[in-house]
Amino acid sequence: MQILFLIAVVLGLMLIGFRFGRLRSVRVTGGDARQLHSLPTYYGLYVALWCGLPALLLLAAWMALEPTIIRMIVLDSLPPDLLLQPDGQTINDARLSLLLTDIRNIASGNIASQSEPAVIAAAGRYASLLQVSFGAMVVVVLSVAMGGAAAAYRFIAPQFRARNRVENIIKMMMVACSLVAILTTLGIILSLLFETLRFFTEVPVTEFLFGTNWSPQTAMRSDQVGSSGAFGAVPLFAGTMMIAMIAMTVAVPIGLLAAIYMAEYAPRNVRTVVKPLLEILAGIPTVVYGFFAALTVAPLIRETGGLLGLSVSSESALAAGLVMGIMIIPFVSSLSDDVITAVPQSMREGSYGLGATRSETIKRVIFPAALPGIVGGVLLAVSRAIGETMIVVMAAGLAANLTANPLEAVTTVTVQIVTLLVGDQEFDSAKTLAAFALGLLLFTVTLVLNVIALHVVRKYREQYE
């Protein structure tokens, strides 16, 4: 709350700085704004930015560093015997953080597990340090804000290039924003990478990449039943690929033909109704598709298979793949429709003008011209199919069978990641670390697909110039 108030004060100062900066810029020219290098607003913005940016950055830095610094001060002041175990060793990290939690709880008036005088004294110091820190922060932040504003205010002169400065600052802010996205991705990749490396110290890379047996368990005791774990990722990727293939077999023809109908044959009023309706398919939560697959499609396939004398398990790759295919139809159809519509009308007229029929025009002119864009759309749909989890959990099962028969239960990478991490788990066993390795591998696969899709789309852009 207090922090929010402080931020509000800084924002208020910025507003005041803006007003004064703009006023002064007009005043320094004696009221003739045409003599200024930039519009008066830019001088106002310049003052406001110098007022707000350093102060807010300082505030953020302060809040990030404050807990660490206070913790160090409090720990230094604790009597040394509190930090020792009965056997004379320094206490471990877990106990230390317990102790600090106690201090913090006492300081904020909550119930704590200890009430030793030394701890209570430390809590008192902790509370007072917090107060001092906050007071200091308010003073420093506000003085930086006012100092910045005053310095910028003094800079204002008719020849001062406020617009260029403001535009530069704004440009830097945009760079910072894009950095956030990039750094987040980088952070995720790195954390995946390090956990994966830890996993590979316990399970050999070759077993993970080429092993055909997936049975992720680690023994607590050596004589335990089922103690032998196996981490071969091949069945998972085979299952993923099979389900994605089935899904694409459904989605590509249906989506593509729907797109061609919408773009080339449908009257305009039909198209305006049908296209949004198809896109609604993309808005249905995947869990809804999941129980549709599990409760309707899977039993249907099993009964049909039974009539034909085939043995179909009640959870099958086919059921999951079919429903997933329905789910990604809108990706294929909508993107392809956009690409087909983007083919210039002059191409169609050129072809019709030569006496080509509509279908000849579509097959020989429109489709080849739109092909790269269509491929891009299909690849996006493939990455979507590979990443899909819910439908597979519900309809295809958890058994990691290495099979080419779509009537059997299979499992996919994403499903296994979920099951590995659900429930009470230690975060240093091979079982949980395997999730990171799977994640990294899956990420690599989808990344490669996306790169290909982007590349194809870029190539398409160069086609008509």
Binding site: P267, S346, E349, G350, G353, L354, G355, T357, P368, E465
Partner: protein, 277 residues
């Protein structure tokens, strides 16, 4: 010589005195009578009656929005693909109504080729661009036949010399003028009887324009050509007959020389002397 009875019944423009129409049977390649075109509720053309003679270049001139392109596109039924466009009246090609139910629009367009305002080669190789029409109409029995059709078409379009070493390069990589000649070659390859050209030089520089105009004059030997143009000099240079359109009406149609030296109607006179348009 006779004046079509239904011609020029509109309000602003009275029937012109000198309105020489070739009546059907007197060798008109295309004869249009009572043609009205509507885009939705808006009427774009009123009671057009016009004859187009074989092996001549007929030019349509007139200010923007006068309906000359619309009329051109009626002649090979390209207006069919525009939503809400309706055509009434009759247009006969060799005494056969092209709007009759029995007419296959695909065959019609093979007989009446078209070249567009903006060069629109397909994003295929030069060879494939020209081979497109013969392929879909099955005009070549084998590869040698097809090669020959492509060669002669490019030759006739005056492009062969410039592209014979790079037939497998994309047609979109040519210059604007070359692209337009490629489109003409593409139209010729189907061996049409009539070629419609919708402002074929408006996107080209003067040198490319000169080449196309020369080409049009040569093509007249074998084809009937109808050209829409904004440039009166172009109409004067390439055409034998000129039709002047204004606000959806056909104001005057006569020998080009007559139109430019002795226009019968004061609107025509105003337009060719540059008083409006």
């Amino acid at each position: 010589m006779k004046t079509s009875p239904s011609a020029q019944t509109s309000i602003e423009i009275p029937p012109t005195a000198g309105f020489p129409l070739v009546s059907q049977g007197e060798g008109a390649k295309i004869a249009a009578r009572d043609v009205n075109v509507f885009y939705g509720d808006k009427q774009a053309l009123r009671n057009i009656a016009l004859d187009i003679k074989p092996n001549e270049v007929t030019a349509f001139i007139g200010p923007s929005g006068c309906g000359k392109s619309t009329f051109l596109r009626c002649l090979n039924r390209m207006n069919d693909i525009i939503d809400g466009c309706r055509v009434t009246g009759s247009i006969n090609l060799d005494e056969e109504d092209i709007y009759h139910r029995r007419i296959d629009v695909v065959q019609l367009r093979a007989r009446i080729g078209m070249v567009f305002q903006k060069p629109n080669p397909f994003p295929k190789s030069i060879y494939e661009n020209v081979a497109y029409g013969p392929r879909i109409h099955g005009l070549a029995r084998n590869k040698t036949d097809l090669d020959e059709i492509v060669q002669t078409s490019l030759e006739r379009a005056g492009l062969l010399g410039e592209v014979k070493d790079r037939m497998d390069q994309p047609g979109t990589g040519l210059s604007g003028g070359q692209q337009q000649r490629l489109c003409i070659a593409r139209a010729i390859a189907v061996n049409p009887e009539v070629i419609l050209m919708d402002e074929p030089c408006s996107a080209l520089d003067p040198i490319a324009t000169a080449k196309i105009e020369e080409l049009i004059d040569e093509l007249r030997q074998n084809y009937t050509i109808v050209i829409v143009t904004h440039s009166m000099q172009q109409a004067a240079r390439v055409s034998q007959r000129t039709a002047f359109f204004h606000l959806g009406n056909l104001v005057e149609c006569n020998d080009t020389e007559q139109i430019f030296t002795n226009p019968q109607h004061k609107l025509t006179q105003g337009y060719i002397t540059g008083r409006f348009g």
